[in-house]
């Protein structure tokens, strides 16, 4: 596929969210099956089906196997997911036979907080002394998606509040405290292989499992990413720059989101970021 420079056909400039979404979709190239959380993961997975991976099988925890929605679903249980699916099964079956059975290549998660080992918090945040802890939606499918998929992609917006040195609560294990923890706990999948944000891409260092900067979106500096990260972010030996969105990617992403304007859908739903 050729990669022309961005924005030639579409007049409005590419937004940071669009860079995140396009790169998240690209990360699904080659995958056969994807367990999709609502929100940013669903946007990315549906874009992937329209760009890099037309045959990608979308699996929603509501029971839809092989859903082919024509527009972005607003909730995990939209009727169109069932109407377009190869099969609709019960929620216990989705989790037991299809996810836990090891049949899903990629788990795609949103997050409220991610720490430097790609552990995820979607349960509660510490608002400081004297204030009640802030309540988040909770685990949803994330702990078992992260445990049982072949690999995991995490997508969230970059800020020091979102990418933190230490989580207030570990809802979902990423790499624990280092490279041996998943194996020690008997986790079957590889865990998080990339955290894709609106500024760039972090990946676990092969030696330490700590997230390091591996790619920047066009126009973003490493310093800006470091300033938006709650720990002292290191860079991989080589930091690449992500290719700008192609005209096709951008057009399809914008069409998808315009058709989905009936409701938000970017910031809520199981596996999505903080529900506020």
């Amino acid at each position: 596929m050729s990669v022309p420079s961005a924005g030639q056909a579409d007049r409005s400039p590419v937004t940071p969210d669009e860079l995140m979404e396009v790169n998240a979709a690209r990360a699904l190239a080659g995958a056969r099956t994807c367990f999709v959380g609502i929100g940013l993961p669903s946007t990315a997975a549906n874009l992937a089906r329209r760009t890099v991976n037309p045959d990608l099988v979308l699996i929603y925890e509501s029971g839809a196997l092989g859903a082919k929605p024509t527009r972005l679903p607003l909730s995990i249980g939209d009727g169109e997911l069932a109407d377009t699916a190869d099969a609709v099964v019960s929620v216990p079956e989705i989790f037991n036979y299809w996810l836990q059975g090891g049949r899903v290549d990629v788990g795609f998660l949103g997050a409220a907080q991610v720490d430097r080992f790609a552990n995820i918090n979607t349960t509660e945040v510490d608002n400081g002394p004297g204030r009640p802890r802030g309540r988040l939606p909770g685990a949803g499918g994330a702990p078992e998606i992260a445990a049982n998929c072949g690999r995991v992609l995490v997508v969230l917006r970059h800020s020091p509040r979102n990418l933190v040195r230490r989580l207030d609560f570990v809802t979902t294990l990423g790499h624990g405290g280092g490279p041996a923890d998943r194996a020690r706990l008997g986790m079957r999948g590889r865990g998080p292989v990339a955290v894709i944000t609106d500024l760039g891409v972090l990946r676990p260092d092969p030696e330490t499992a700590e997230l390091v900067l591996t790619a920047l979106h066009p126009g973003v500096t490493a310093d800006r990413v470091r300033a938006a990260t709650g720990w002292r972010l290191r860079a991989a030996p080589t930091v690449s720059v992500t290719a700008p969105p192609t005209d096709g990617e951008l057009a399809r992403l914008r069409a998808l989101k315009a058709a989905g304007r009936d409701g938000p859908g970017d910031d809520a739903g199981p596996g999505g970021p903080r529900g506020t």
């Binding site: 609502i38 925890e61 509501s62 029971g63 839809a64 607003l74 909730s75 995990i76 249980g77 939209d78 009727g79 997911l81 069932a82 609709v88 019960s90 929620v91 216990p92 989790f95 037991n96 996810l99 836990q100 552990n119 349960t123 009640p132 802890r133 802030g134 309540r135 939606p137 909770g138 685990a139 949803g140 499918g141 994330a142 702990p143 078992e144 445990a147 049982n148 609560f169 570990v170 809802t171 979902t172 294990l173 624990g176 923890d181 998943r182 706990l185 008997g186 986790m187 079957r188 009936d262 409701g263 938000p264 859908g265 910031d267 809520a268 739903g269 199981p270 999505g272 529900g275 506020t276």
Partner: protein
């Protein structure tokens, strides 16, 4: 054997103060009308179980009827927070809310164990999570064949499960289709089962993807067209996303919520 009852009578007969109640439906087929009847009757001190509390439980929590919530994901799908849930957890308003918090896989398997007459279920879950530290319904078991340690979750056996379905026949056999979530398991795990339906038909013609609950596995059926609104019943209605969005403003503020509650309780035909 299921009798066809009025919703008012069925709720009064089957749901009592202090019960553990599951109102299930995964975004689809959420039994809102039955929940509103519980609010009108003021049935209280409930332990409510539901994978996704959704705004149906935000309403019950805000109404002060809930002592404890058993759940796995508490947001307003597609919109944001459940403000009444947050206010109860963070500030204890209108009363403190105890939590028994799980993952989706854990909740689903808790219902499976309940439906299966087993005291627990086994899964590959919760590993490395802080969740097990906060609940006494997650433990571990060791596989007697491989020695592997796995998660165990305690069976969830509600006193009453309430679901909404598309239709029933006159004997009370229930048929639902589309995304049917964990409803069969929640119903079979419960001591009593109440089903609201869009309509009663002479004959339940087979439907692709239909789940059928025989009448002898159901205690009462109440005919409540639109009883899932603002959730939906595939083939009868579509999800009312505007209502879900509108709930955010209603629930964000105690005063606007209280006005909503008073309107609901004041008018028997309020919904």
């Amino acid at each position: 054997m299921a009798g066809i009852r009025s919703l008012r009578d069925a709720v009064a007969d089957l749901i009592h103060d202090g019960d553990t109640v599951a109102m299930e439906g995964f975004t689809h087929l959420i039994p809102f009308a039955a929940a509103h009847e519980v609010i009108r009757q003021g049935i209280t001190d409930l332990t409510l179980a539901r994978m996704t509390p959704d705004i149906i439980y935000d309403q019950l929590i805000g109404a002060g009827l809930v002592a404890k919530l058993v759940f796995s994901w508490g947001g307003n799908p597609g919109v944001g927070s459940l403000h009444r849930f947050r206010d109860a957890v963070e500030n204890g308003w209108p009363r403190p809310l105890a939590l028994d918090e799980h993952s989706h896989a854990g909740m689903a398997n808790r219902y499976v164990a309940g439906a299966s007459g087993l005291p627990f279920a086994v899964l590959r879950g919760y590993r490395g999570s802080d969740l097990p530290d906060r609940t006494d319904t997650v433990a571990t078991v060791v596989c007697p064949f491989t020695g592997e340690e796995l998660a165990a979750v305690a069976a969830l056996t509600p006193d009453v499960t309430v679901i909404h379905a598309q239709r029933a026949d006159r004997r009370g056999t229930v048929q639902m289709w589309g995304l049917t979530g964990v409803q069969k398991e929640a119903a079979l795990a419960a001591g009593r089962v109440l089903v609201t339906v869009e309509e009663v038909v002479e004959e339940l013609t087979p439907r692709p993807g239909a789940v059928v609950l025989p009448s002898w596995a159901v205690d009462a059926v109440a005919v409540v067209p639109g009883g899932a609104h603002p959730s939906y019943a595939a083939g009868y209605s579509v999800r009312d996303n505007d209502s879900y969005r509108a709930w955010d403003a209603v629930a964000r503020d105690r005063a606007t919520f209280t006005a909503w509650l008073n309107a609901l309780v004041g008018g028997r035909e309020g919904r």
